[in-house]
Subunit: 346 residues, 2 copies
Amino acid sequence: MPLDPDSTVAILAHEKFPDRAKTAVGVLRYADYDVAAVLDRDRPGTRTADHVPDVQDAPVVADMDAALELGDLDALLIGIAPIGGGFDESWRADVRTALEHGCDVVAGLHYFLREDEEFADLAAMHGAELHDVREPHPDVGVSEGVADEVDADVVLTVGTDCSTGKMTATLELVQAAREAGIDAGFVPTGQTGIMIAGWGNPIDRVVSDFTAGAVEEMILEKGDEHEMLFVEGQGSIVHPAYSAVTCGILHGAMADALVLCHVEGKEVIHGYEEFELPSVETYVDLYEDLAAPVSEAAVVAGMLNTSSVEGDAAAREVLDAYAEKLDAPATDPIRFDAAEVLDALR
Amino acid sequence: MPLDPDSTVAILAHEKFPDRAKTAVGVLRYADYDVAAVLDRDRPGTRTADHVPDVQDAPVVADMDAALELGDLDALLIGIAPIGGGFDESWRADVRTALEHGCDVVAGLHYFLREDEEFADLAAMHGAELHDVREPHPDVGVSEGVADEVDADVVLTVGTDCSTGKMTATLELVQAAREAGIDAGFVPTGQTGIMIAGWGNPIDRVVSDFTAGAVEEMILEKGDEHEMLFVEGQGSIVHPAYSAVTCGILHGAMADALVLCHVEGKEVIHGYEEFELPSVETYVDLYEDLAAPVSEAAVVAGMLNTSSVEGDAAAREVLDAYAEKLDAPATDPIRFDAAEVLDALR
């Protein structure tokens, strides 16, 4: 993938920046390559910093032609995902323009760009590449149970449900660790994380027999390069649909420490409202007991999304209550700071 | 698939029948379609019953031509799997002969027969079909968490490791239930089970996000047709490589009862000998605690492979010890009878 620290990219987020463009905002906040422009035909003439705090500042432009006027670009990223993961035909002109200028295109859609005949032809003609990050690379295999042999301390985020901030918590921990002088690496497991990191395998798309193996492979690849590795978790170990992915990551990562991510006030599984979340204490027991026979790991810290709580003082109170249930320190990495729990992970 | 009670098939098991032909023996023991012949070029002129007890009796012949001389056949099954799942070129002539006579060919290899140009051409020419049972059908999706809504009582076999007799236990329970007058159905999850049942999805080959969904789909398909459904489990919940599959089946099946399968004397995970098996009591807790938030299920019986124990009296002793650890009745379904634990499942 063309996404290394020397790269310069544009991000397509038409009509959805920033609130419905999770990938675009994630890249602007956490990626270590340059974003030269965001494409949103509803907001040309503004800047990213006008819409969302703590991100790379870049102009918002109407289309790919306008982005290219700002200078050379290595890639166009599709930074939004409609429900269902389809390709919106209103994006076609921008993708075409990118390819005609030799820019790679990176997408995390269910619809694979490389299977689109026009895009495949244009890419071949102009020496550009199409990267569909939802497609696992084909040579993954079964886990050998050796991820614990890497030099780095491995920290895995786990959750009480999907969308409990595992990717954000992981990336905030990486930033906090680096600010503390630790050589920290990030292991992505989902499409947005992969776009931010510029590498990685989408674990939820891997053949189920290879779930743990695909995680192990990534940890072996990076585990001797860093002091600490922060692995992005997925789903929840008691999710009616996605627990297989969570379990495979838990056993494939063989982490030294777990961080439990939760959303204050959440009581049922999103989209499966007849299933109540068990207690925080039950999650701690489930994750620790299930990890132990493969590789012992304790929940040593918690991350809580307190955005539903008004006022920092009240947020501190719910964090204290969460920490007590965990018997470990907890923070809200967006409202406060991930650094508050970093000591517990070392 | 052409494998219904009216079908007549031959099974290819060259040079490996019966000891290294697990699929062939499973089909001979449990399938409800007729096996007209087994192909083994090392043992022509013998009969299946000469080699293995409690199976359909059928002649062993040298090749597919000899099998066809016995009468019309609906299909040829590949009943052996070399390490790696490749296609052995010494089988090509028999597959060719089958297709030329309009026989379907059913295989559970990693090598897909339908991607073999010669076989695909022959099948098209003679109106035969190629069935690769390791390939999931393409329209599986995510679980909706509704498998518990079927009329049948659902029983799932779970294990302390791979190869602990989960498929055998499941099929022996189906037979015992039917002998007791219960309308019992079998839900296969692996290639041999699928060949025996004549339908089903190989759960270990499904995209990991759809693991639970693929199991749920099968239970919804059969769950209102039977009084009891017996679901074939896979792997182990603490297997370093395959736990994702186990976890997806556990949550997708939403079983009413679990049966824990173990091999007497087994202390470490096969192929992963540095990982010790936790205690039987720990397995019971892990499976029950992990199932509960999605759908409560207790381990209500155990199955123990006592083939390493000499003498039935000694086998009874180890079964009693296993039953005590489980706090539930236990049997060896091959040495004794699955019917011994049937009452506990109702």
